[in-house]
Symmetry: C2
């Protein structure tokens, strides 16, 4: 059976019952159909307060991964299976995940609800519009853009130089033709012509702000602080100067609150916020994580792509800024990806190859070492595929031990929570050990030095080559008082380096930083390395070709 067939065969229980398992009554929910709900403002505040007390909150487990193949290594699947597995062994566990973007659903990667018998449901709804959060973010982002261009049109009182406007419009789709555009053409009534850009909604600063704001006040403060461009006299202009922040925040009043759904095994999962980890900060919302920490003894969350991206940002941005810390981390690996990093071609990944596995393990070893730099105890979870051989699995276990960790087989895809019991037991053991979380770098370091620390410590480069434009912007940001912000790296997910062709564990190379961009509302500086862009494109045969819906609204072909 396909993932969607398994999900559709499953019989869900009402989300009110899921909520009651974790002490959330029906009055504290806003229902979106029978199986999706948002937490009320009052309950959200109560849960935030409970999670703020480190003695009353659950243990936080981060699921990250090795450098993935194009299909991903099953990080969501392992996250869900581990949550179900912990519940199976009697630990009250809540899952916190990101919500999927439409871009990958219709592109290459597919949805983000896990797979096989480790899924969150209703998967079609979650993968498509869900509760409308990303649509609200898109609308809020584009309302800001319309208001900025209208300011130019209506006399430009603030004297904004159209050539400096950095605020981009967005769509939650892969649409490369919108990367570089000229807008405002036509006549005098059709706007002011200028070059502009669209990004995918999940890379937008508004997405980051929704994920990092605990209250509407904080949301508005952050929106006010967004830098949208400069005046002709080179003064930075913030969105707050347009005095329309309330309207933008009104569009986000629901989007700021976490969504509750269930796993196939009827365990609770908060799914909220969806920044990509390659071109954004890659973590679900702080509000979802706090709700989970307040309601579960264990919380399993994930951060996007491999540990050099999502996990690093999880720790250096999300945990640091919110005073939370992971009690353990899981690095998801697959035998297939290990062989790919060992040089095996895609067509041969199903064939046993111990030498390639051994070589490819250098990638996992690098991620293990990296996680330990944050003071976090790690375990490797081998996400089982049918083609994996016993000899391969045994070899990974041995290599993990050699690298100072352990590897545990996770059969969540085929067996659900039962397939993750061993991993769950290992996690319970690991979280009883003392954890000594610390961020990788001190915020007081300069922006340039922070980027260099990331490049050397995590991406294993020899040194960083900054484009002169990037250096000039870094100086300006520092002079304007933004030097102590953390860095959010935008780079390929297909390598620990900036270059997708550098598999395994790259070293001895130059890490090129092409550009930087201030997200003064979100509170970080985005650095762009290599040829990464913030608007993906569609492939020659997009997934959209396979998706259909029948007259009863039943969807097929979504994965």
């Amino acid at each position: 059976m396909t993932d969607i067939e398994i999900a559709q065969k499953n019989v869900m229980i009402p989300v009110t019952e899921i909520a009651s398992k974790i002490g959330i009554s029906e009055e504290s929910l806003e229902l979106y159909g029978k199986y999706k709900a948002k937490v009320s403002f009052a309950k959200l505040k109560a849960l935030q307060a409970k999670a703020a007390d480190s003695s009353s909150r659950g243990k936080l487990i981060l699921v990250t991964a090795m450098t993935p193949t194009a299909a991903g290594e099953g990080k969501s699947t392992v996250t869900i299976a581990l949550g179900d597995g912990l519940n199976k062994i009697g630990k009250k566990t809540v899952i916190a995940l990101r919500e999927p973007s439409l871009g990958p659903c219709f592109g290459v990667k597919g949805g983000a609800c896990g797979g096989g018998y480790a899924q969150v449901v209703p998967m079609e709804d979650i993968n498509l519009h869900f509760t409308g959060d990303i649509h609200a973010i898109t609308a809020a982002n584009n309302l800001m853009a319309a208001l900025i261009d209208n300011h130019l049109q209506q006399g430009n009182e603030l004297g904004i130089d159209p050539r400096t406007i950095s605020w981009k419009r967005c769509v939650d789709l892969n649409d490369r033709a919108l990367r570089n555009v000229i807008i405002g053409l036509g006549s005098r009534i059709d706007g002011v012509p200028r070059e502009s850009h669209f990004q995918i909604s999940v890379a937008s600063e508004i997405m980051a702000i929704v994920c990092l704001s605990k209250t509407i006040s904080e949301l508005k403060d952050r929106i006010n602080r967004i830098t949208i461009g400069e005046t002709y006299s080179k003064r930075p202009v913030t969105f707050g100067e347009l005095k329309c922040t309330g309207a933008v925040a009104a569009l986000l009043k629901d989007a700021i609150r976490p969504n509750l759904v269930q796993t196939l095994e009827k365990n609770p999962a908060f799914i909220h916020g969806g920044p990509f980890a390659n071109i954004a900060h890659g973590c679900n919302s702080i509000n979802a994580t706090l709700c989970a920490l307040a309601t579960g003894d264990y919380v399993v969350t994930e951060a996007g792509f491999a540990a050099d991206l999502g996990a690093e940002k999880f720790m250096d941005i999300k945990c640091r800024l919110n005073g939370i810390a992971p009690d353990a981390a899981v690095i998801v690996a697959t035998i297939r990806a290990l062989k790919m990093h060992g040089g095996v071609a895609k067509a041969d990944l199903g064939i046993e190859n111990l030498d390639a596995l051994r070589a490819g393990f250098a990638n996992v070893k690098c991620h293990i070492e990296n996680m330990k730099k944050f003071g976090v105890n790690v375990v490797v979870a081998v996400n089982k595929f049918i083609s994996d051989t016993d000899a391969e699995i045994e070899l990974v276990k041995k290599l993990a031990l050699d690298a100072g960790s352990e590897a545990v087989l996770c059969e969540g895809w085929g067996k659900g929570g039962d397939g993750a019991k061993e991993l769950a037991l290992k996690i319970v053991e690991l979280t009883q050990k003392p954890s000594a979380f610390k961020p990788l770098y001190d915020l007081k370091l300069g922006l340039k030095e922070k980027i260099e620390t990331l490049a050397k410590e995590i991406y294993r480069a020899d040194h960083v080559e900054f484009d002169p434009k990037a250096l000039k912007k870094i100086s300006a940001y520092s002079a304007a008082g933004y030097g102590e912000l953390p860095v959010c790296m935008a780079k390929t997910q297909n390598s620990i380096s900036h270059d997708k062709s550098m598999l395994g564990s790259p070293s001895g190379y130059v890490f090129p930083v092409r550009d930087v961009q201030l997200y003064s509302g979100a509170g970080f500086v985005v650095a762009f390395a290599g040829d990464i862009v913030d608007m993906p494109g569609l492939p020659k045969a997009p997934s959209a070709l396979n998706i259909d819906v029948d007259d009863d609204g039943l969807i097929s072909g979504l994965f």
Copy 2:
């Protein structure tokens, strides 16, 4: 109190109770919070079947209006008040309205939930994201665009000439800077450069298709038939040729089903689909109207702007294509708008002026005559403003009688259903008279002749001047077999003519048709007259300046 304050002070009952009043059980609903719900596919089918039988469906009352001022004349307010008024006098009545676009909410006109004590609630939700229908339409529309541009990028197998692509992207905002754009700039990996356009989502062909499709099969058939451009050899290309229709339809599986909410007086209202009436066909969805006809003995619905726009399209497009007919029509007028049409400046509209009123009534007279051309019995509803004098109201009543109709005062804004009882009684009387509905023109007339009929019979022009480009396209559409489609006129709402400066009842002028556009999926040809555009702009001081939200999610300043 402002509209939003009245709405927020009101205590709603659960939408399940509203549904049970009209025989819809909780199992037939998908809840969106406690106060909004969609009808299930199974129930929708059952209601469609019931409404198809003219002996078992309710009476259909269309609310339309005189040519409005910029603020609108309270058509939604009268619609809601009349629904409540009919319920007050013991007639089981269901309302069917369009859902609001975000564009006017943040621009000039405000929301579209009625006003005063005649509102549908929750008004903030309905005015902002509601159940996500318009966001789904925007996403579906833009997925189509991304797939079309991706086809060019990936080798252009169909040989589509980029210069001929007529499919536009959309946003549900007023954003003039997106009217004319160049996309696909950058390098080889960034798409194929071409000129393109954005329209507001509510003017999109997908919005029209969602409103006109009864089933997902019909939706897919219509999407397949959409003309997206031409090949280099001038063959028209339909979207179906890209073989991604299922994916687009999957995004619309919920958007095709009507939403149920309540009035302040706890009466049921279906609010679904939101095409503007100046640049689109201006009616709520056929599914919403059928659900209302199957569940109410009386159905009050509206069509956008004045009777020359929404009402004409309601009858010539929506009713004709679906075998339904209005049993009566209400023309909403205000003393203020009558005086405006009589030449009074905005600042003086609150001062009694019987001469101006008499002169301005020519506008209402023209609309009365127009409605009678469809064989529909009409009544004029005077939507009461505080500044109206008794003498003014008496004069309107007299003028209406002279014009072969009657005028009734509607005080719904101030008194809710109680203020519309007299109108309700008049409607019951009117719907007992025989009605002889017929469309204005025969579909077998040529496209050019249909446009000329509209211009002469409804807009009262002497003759039509077609731009040569428009004539050429009309010939091509006719040659391709589209000659028997109805026409959807895009023109200003501020005059019966194409020119907003021509108030009252224009005559003896030339009606200029600038362009035409085939909507082969929706099933009509859009004609553009005068300087109308399908993407509005924001004013110097947009409503967005006044909107805010507090830490409990309470919105203010929305009207």
